[in-house]
Symmetry: C2
Subunit: 370 residues, 2 copies
């Protein structure tokens, strides 16, 4: 009997109430990794610690052979090498990027996909050409509605064979800080972050930042491809059109203090003052203040938010002094952006997207003599 794509690619599903993490979810977790939370210490995440999500495989790319084509509703179709792009005026933007699925595995019931806890985040300095310069050079037609970005990453998802593609409206694409990036943290893009070229959409979840970018096509209607219309939607029921996933919701994370147990990752501290630290960010609206709780959210302390260093699209550092007393504590932190606070409880959706419920860090403070 002939095999078909449907044999290997099934519809999305929600885990049973007591279902452990499946081997399929584990296989995704073994390749796509989060940022160890102690790396919240760095303003810019060192290469290799930034979170990573690859839909299919890392394509094999030869920079000298790589071209990005710009076509569709343009007066002057282009085919640009990385050298061509390096010859255009460059811009560098510090960007906190987060996977839209961050927090998915903490939802109940759990949508079955990449099983992120809270660590699918990282901050990098991306250097490249502002997209609007390239679109200007291509002579974007006024009838253009969406731009379709196609990566070289090829695979199948819910029985649809595809190159990874995302549409972005012309209005969103013309923001000054949208880049065609060829450098990360001052060096060439690593293969896993889109070498030799990727799109960077500061303030939006990771799905918008198309890696291994090989084509940009202007079209006269909203893009109806899989990743825009099927995958990245906030839905409670199958078949709803749902709202699109776009801007990063506010989130704060703390560096788990003290030291961990290897297996449980539970934290141990000794009595006395502990300087808690972490980062807070929001794509939706500027960060305004941060609060910390040592009792699981019953009472809150104001954290010191470091002065705004002028990187609108990057996280901001905060610190908070906490006096640990022997016993069990539950640390948590929340950020308020200009639109309001980060929620204590998550909103549920079938895709497990944009769960920005607060991080919970159980801490055991030992007695004085241990």
């Amino acid at each position: 009997m002939d095999a078909s794509i449907a044999d290997v690619s099934r519809p999305g599903r929600i885990a049973q109430p007591d279902e452990g993490i499946s081997m399929e979810e584990l296989a995704l977790a073994a390749r796509n990794h989060g940022m160890p939370l102690e790396a919240l210490r760095y303003d810019v995440t060192p290469v290799g610690l930034h979170y990573l999500l690859i839909h299919y495989d890392i394509p094999l790319a030869v920079q000298e052979d790589w071209h990005v084509t710009v076509g569709g509703l343009v007066g002057n179709p282009l085919s640009l090498s990385v050298a061509d792009l390096r010859g255009m005026p460059a811009s560098t933007v510090r960007v906190t990027m987060e996977c839209a699925g961050n927090g998915r595995a903490r939802l109940a019931p759990r949508p079955v996909s990449q099983p992120w806890l809270v660590e699918a985040v990282g901050t990098a300095e991306w250097t490249g050409v502002p997209l609007r310069h390239v679109l200007d050079a291509a002579g974007l037609d006024p009838s253009a509605v969406d731009l379709v970005f196609t990566g070289a990453d090829h695979g199948v998802e819910r029985s649809i064979e595809q190159d990874y593609q995302r549409g972005l409206s012309v209005g969103d694409a013309m923001r000054d800080e949208i880049l065609l990036a060829y450098e990360m943290n001052g060096g060439p893009l690593p293969p896993q972050h889109g070498f030799p070229l990727r799109l960077v959409v500061p303030g939006w979840y990771g799905m918008a930042h198309v890696k291994w970018l090989r084509d940009i096509t202007a079209i006269d209607r909203p893009f109806d491809g899989f990743q825009n219309v099927e995958a990245y939607r906030l839905r409670r029921e199958i078949g709803e059109p749902g709202e699109p996933v776009t801007w990063i919701a506010p989130r704060a994370l703390l560096v788990p203090p003290g030291f961990p147990d290897f297996m449980s990752r539970a934290r141990v501290v000794r009595p006395g003052e502990v300087i808690l630290e972490g980062r807070a960010w929001s794509g939706r609206a500027p960060v305004e203040r941060v609060e910390v709780s040592a009792d699981g959210g019953e009472t809150w302390m104001a954290a010191d938010l470091e002065p705004d260093p002028g990187h609108r699209w990057a996280w901001r550092r905060w610190t908070c002094r906490w006096t640990a007393a022997p016993g069990s504590h539950l640390l948590t932190v929340r950020v308020f952006d200009a639109d309001g606070p980060q929620p204590v409880h998550p909103d549920w959706n079938r895709g497990g997207f944009a769960n920005n419920a607060v991080q919970l860090v159980p801490v055991t403070c030992l007695p004085e003599d241990q």
Copy 2:
């Protein structure tokens, strides 16, 4: 009631027969990542794709303040900065490193720990000072039996609070290729790989390559610390002394061909010739040949093993032509080293160490017209 370390740190355990991956195992998988298997294409694994296992937390290290002390049974105790080490004759060694727990999550029953499938591997070029030169400079006493290497990584494991420490016999430590490494792939060590200094023990599993190295102490007996005597032992029953985990067992892996389904990672190819490729390695003995099977190990084809490029401690590339016909196939590969073949079925042990059973890659070949 006072809390204690035993409240957060429990004995090792074996999963129940149908127990899914636990949230604790998932939390480890989210921080410690494997190498995406398509990265088997590279001779040297790009930074960020090399596997990573951190027992506790990545310590915050300032290179200018870092010293490694050399003491115990030596005539001339030393305290060496990274600059001091950079002033000594350097050596570069290409090393395939693998976690001793690679393959653990494929054992039945499953030992509960870092839940690796098959991808806890990577190859790097490490540059540093041969350890024997440092020991010579320190005047190692003939009564020394073991060297104890202490890292700055601090945590608790099965209720034992500890800095990560491993002992190595003087005989093993005096091999020419053992390094105190301060560079990886030509750049400073990344934080997650031991910045600013680590031990590299080519041919041994990863637990021997102590990261964030801050002390070397020569002692007159075999080291009886946790990581040598409790953790990294091959045991079938609790309480057995067990054999120590040392040299890397032979393993071959293939780059899964075609393209994947996002969720299942199952592979799809189209009919015709497919060039399979991968790598093979063994710490125990030199690699001699590689065989590939497309029927789950019933019949085997000889693969072409690339000529030995003279990197004894690194993997070797192999290729094999396979003609895919429509239907379902189960690809696998095995290496023979000078001591014999890689096993088709795993040996079980309580720690889930050194499971070098063959990789299994189900592939669906579509009909001609799909």
